[in-house]
């Protein structure tokens, strides 16, 4: 009973860790992502568009299956979890063997191991001893760094290898994928996004979240200016905002941000997201000429800001219309653009009481004469603008970038670095005849490596022949001496 239970558990474990399961999961996740690509998704679509494209019944079905928000649905999360589990189990299954392979490379090749090699060559030697230094020389000339390995019987063989790390690279790829997913999960749980809209010289520490609620930041952000630059053809070239970070009233940081270059403070990033006119006036430059010939005055006025004209009278702006038009006896604004601005000022005098005057900067002649004793002209109008800042807090992004870099490196190792091994082993056949076995293995691209192996074998043979003839010569000399 217990054995059966264990075998069931083993079976589940095996199924979970198999490449086949992995491929099937990849296909299913791929189909789910495809569905999320082709079906309009609620988070990035206007509700009206959804109703326009799908009939109510279809929409209800899609909603019930969470197909209108695939990437936040429980079943998509489940699929990703299953895929992650598959990666983890498969890695646990395969890691120990791979690690043994990595940490204890088979430096000494036994004859039975040699028999299993795909690339091998036997060089029969005429002499009864082999000069391994010659073999080493041939290895070194071909760019290898061989090492001597001796077994218990004192026989010496050569071993060389390259890029053993490539064997571990697939594990690194999968680990990096998990790291990226982990970063995504951290951001999903602890990260947030928001929006801040600021006019000039305004500051706030309130962040508007996508659901409409507000979040208080431990510091405030102030806009010292913002603007837009255009190309000659009128298309926008650059949006910028000068921002300052205030903490407890102290200015901590200052930066001019543009699109693609945010300000970062305490893990929060502030992006230039939008820029536009508020439709409200920021200031009006008023030119005042006294009718009795006194000195001319020129000053900037804000809405509802009272400025004294002389000892008796003050002036303030009571109303501003950016794009003045009269529709059925009502004053309206056609747009938020200052195409035809109209300024209503009020002159308060102790003697004459209040006088209201409409001023039209584009059409100064429209202004009626008044009895306040002053002539008013508008010199300039400055419109208010706002800069829209996208704010995001993504504590997991460092895991994501680390994972991405790791994955890039590991993929390069997987695809472009081949673990190759070489062995040279002299084998005595028991009758005093000696054979030098040369063997090699490559983790991939065997065809390419085979060519290099053959060249190496030739080089070794060449060296040994030279040795043989040298030995023969020596023997001949000895014979002559005798």
């Amino acid at each position: 009973m217990a054995a059966q239970a264990r075998s069931t558990r083993d079976k589940i474990w095996q199924v979970f860790g198999s490449v086949r399961t992995g491929i099937i999961l990849l296909i299913v996740v791929g189909l789910a992502v495809m569905a999320g690509t082709l079906i309009l998704q609620r988070p990035i679509t206007e509700p009206s568009k959804l109703h326009q494209v799908y009939s109510p019944e279809t929409l209800r079905l899609l909603d019930a299956l969470r197909l209108t928000d695939v990437f936040h649905s429980w079943w998509f999360v489940l699929l990703l979890s299953l895929l992650s589990a598959n990666i983890v189990v498969a890695s646990i299954e395969r890691f120990p063997a791979a690690w043994r392979y990595f940490s204890h490379p088979a430096r000494r090749a036994e004859p039975h191991f040699f028999a299993s090699l795909a690339m091998k060559r036997a060089i029969p030697l005429r002499s009864s001893r082999v000069d391994m230094e010659k073999v080493e020389l041939a290895f070194r000339r071909a760019g290898w760094k061989p090492q001597y390995v001796s077994d218990d019987h004192g026989s010496v063989s050569l071993y060389a290898e390259r890029f053993r790390i490539a064997r571990m690279a697939p594990f690194v790829v999968h680990a990096s994928l998990l790291l990226i997913l982990a970063g995504g999960i951290i951001d999903g749980l602890f990260g947030y996004k928001g929006f801040i809209s600021l006019g000039q010289n305004e500051s706030t520490s309130q962040l508007e979240l996508p659901d409409g609620t507000h979040k208080a930041l431990p510091f405030a952000i102030r806009c010292d200016g913002a603007g837009q630059e255009n190309y000659p053809d009128g298309t926008p070239k650059r949006w910028w905002s000068r921002l300052a970070v205030l903490e407890n009233g102290r200015e901590m940081q200052r930066k001019e941000i543009v699109v693609n270059d945010p300000l970062t403070y305490r893990g929060l990033r502030f992006y230039q997201a939008s820029y536009g006119a508020t439709g409200e006036v920021a200031g009006v430059k008023l030119l005042v000429t006294p009718k009795n010939g006194g000195p001319k005055q020129e000053f900037w006025l804000k809405l509802d800001e009272a400025v004294p004209l002389d000892k008796d009278a003050t002036v303030r702006i009571t109303q501003f219309v950016p794009d003045f038009v009269v529709v059925e006896n009502h004053i309206e604004s056609r747009s938020d653009q200052p195409n035809n601005p109209a300024v209503q000022i009020s002159v308060q005098s102790k003697q004459a009481g209040e006088t209201r005057i409409w001023l039209f900067p584009r059409f100064p002649e429209f202004t009626h004469a008044n009895n306040t004793g002053f002539d008013f002209r508008v010199g300039d109008v400055q419109m208010g603008y706002f800069t829209g800042l996208q704010v995001s807090h993504e504590p997991g992004q460092w895991a994501v970038w680390a994972g991405v870099i790791l994955m890039g490196v590991a993929l390069a190792l997987v695809f472009y670095f081949v673990h190759v091994r070489l062995w040279a082993l002299p084998v005595d056949d028991g009758m005093g005849r000696l054979t030098l076995w040369l063997g090699a293995s490559a983790s991939k691209n065997r065809e390419d490596f085979e060519r290099r192996f053959r060249a190496l074998v030739d080089a070794v043979e060449h060296e040994l022949k030279a040795q043989d003839s040298a030995a023969k010569l020596q023997r001949a000399e000895l014979a002559v001496v005798k």
Binding site: I44, T235, R238, A273, Q390, G408
Partner: protein, 470 residues
């Protein structure tokens, strides 16, 4: 048997005088096209500008396509030599066109669909030359060069004005992102070509190719028929002032209906479904006559396809049609329906490639490298494509993070790229798992390229999203 022997003889004696006719025709066609182009330049006076260079590239790519197909059909080695030469000349013109554009625009040509196609075609041609040179796969151009030709034709139709970069595009990461995308997509195109050859060499039944080809082309026509309106076909009207699309409001072009064209396209779709039905019947009943009839039906559907393409070109070019949205008639031009035209052209080319296969199966198999080699080469090309694809997505994510404050927003372009990545990840794991190798892996390579094409064109033109630039 006798036929096979004849084929062997022919491919064994590559320098037979046959083939002069095709070479002559191609040479004549090339000279004619270039002369036409020259006549055009006499008016403007500028010889080496981008449009002319691109036209030259189109001419030579077309010549090399004809020669590569000629080689695949007849096995004449000389064709390959001239095709190689034509590809080189086209590639040089293509490079110069890109350099010229870079020089005049002042930024790397990666900011519009037009400019990305320029880079994509360049990479396809470069990889074709590379694979032929390094691995001796001579037939590769037969599949990749038609892709390049469709790309250049599409470019002739797309708006090519140099626009200054909008703020979000002013980033080094954009160039990295797009360069990686184009390189990896070109590698995907090559892996697709190799996988198709593997399937041919792996003795996949010619009938299966028939079913897949007609299925694919039927899908294209089904996609086009999404514009079906009461027997007509809806196309985008042209703005006579700018030559661009006539817009009602931002993101909403004015559609006009070309009467009766919808029916013609529906008939073509039915004609394409006929071989599929016959194939299914033959497979179910184990009756080979069904396959014969399916082949005949496919030839008929090809004739209809050609008819439909010609009808489409003649009716859209300089036409005036009424719109269901606004009163009055509005002009149409091919430039405003580039993707329908590209779809029709791709369908025709795919059908042609199938016909070539069904006529010359044995000969082709002799010319191709062994199945093992093709499988390995497919793996190698995906070994290039996959890391590039990974880095492309990463660079895009980094750029998005710099611009919008989030590295992943499940935007359709992002998710489509993720699907591509998953498909190729599936391919790579298939090669590890025993028993899933070979044919199933090749299917994945083909599917991967289909998803790449969908990501590149489909998402841009069918689905809205953040990725509005391309």
């Amino acid at each position: 048997m006798a036929r096979v022997q004849m084929m062997e003889q022919r491919s064994a004696a590559p320098t037979t005088p046959s083939g002069n006719l095709l070479l002559g025709l191609v040479a004549l066609g090339t000279v004619f096209m270039l002369l036409m182009g020259l006549l055009g330049t006499i008016k403007t006076g500028a010889l080496f500008n981008e449009a002319n260079l691109l036209f030259a590239a189109l001419t030579f790519y077309a010549a090399s396509t004809v020669l590569y197909i000629g080689f695949a059909v007849t096995g004449t080695e000389r064709f390959v030599r001239f095709a190689w030469l034509a590809t080189w000349v086209g590639f040089v013109s293509n490079t110069l066109a890109g350099a010229h554009r870079w020089y005049t625009a002042g930024h790397a040509p990666f900011s519009s669909v037009y400019e990305m196609l320029l880079a994509f075609i360049w990479a396809v041609a470069a990889l074709t030359l590379f694979v032929q040179r390094k691995y001796g796969v001579k037939v590769i151009g037969t599949i990749t060069m038609p892709v390049a030709v469709v790309g250049v034709v599409l470019m002739q139709l797309l708006p090519s004005d140099v626009h200054p970069l909008v703020p979000a595009l002013q980033s080094t990461w954009l160039h990295i992102h797009v360069t990686l995308a184009m390189l990896s997509y070109a590698a995907c195109a090559v892996s697709f070509a190799l996988a198709m050859m593997f399937l041919i060499q792996d003795n996949m039944r010619t009938e299966s190719f028939l079913a897949n080809t007609s299925g694919l082309v039927a899908l294209i026509y089904a996609g086009v028929l999404g514009r079906f309106a009461g027997g007509g076909l809806k196309v985008v009207a042209q703005n006579p002032q700018t030559g661009g699309d006539l817009m009602i409001q931002r993101g909403m072009p004015l559609m006009v209906v070309i009467p009766d064209l919808g029916w013609l396209f529906a008939i073509v779709l039915l004609a394409l479904l006929a071989p599929l039905v016959l194939y299914a019947w033959a497979a179910w009943k184990h009756d080979d006559r069904g396959y014969v009839w399916a082949n005949r039906a496919f030839v008929i559907s090809m004739v209809l396809q050609a008819l439909a393409a010609v009808a489409f070109v003649f009716r859209v070019r300089g036409g005036q049609y009424a719109s269901p949205m606004v009163e009055g008639v509005f002009p149409t031009a091919l430039a405003n329906s580039p993707f329908i035209l590209a779809g029709l052209l791709s369908g025709l080319l795919a059908s042609l490639l199938y016909l070539m296969l069904s006529w010359r199966r044995e000969g082709l198999q002799q010319m191709l490298p062994a199945a093992d080699t093709l499988d390995r080469l497919t793996y190698k090309s995906i070994g290039i494509a996959f890391p590039l694809l990974t880095l492309m997505i990463a660079a895009g994510a980094y750029w998005a993070n710099q611009t919008w404050g989030s590295y992943w927003s499940w935007d359709p372009k992002e998710t489509a790229a993720l699907v591509t990545w998953l498909v190729y990840a599936g391919y790579l794991h298939m090669r590890i798992a025993r028993g899933w190798r070979g044919r199933r892996a090749a299917y994945f390579a083909v599917l991967g390229f289909a998803v790449v094409m969908f990501t590149f064109f489909g998402v841009t033109y069918l689905l809205p999203g953040l990725h509005a630039y391309a």
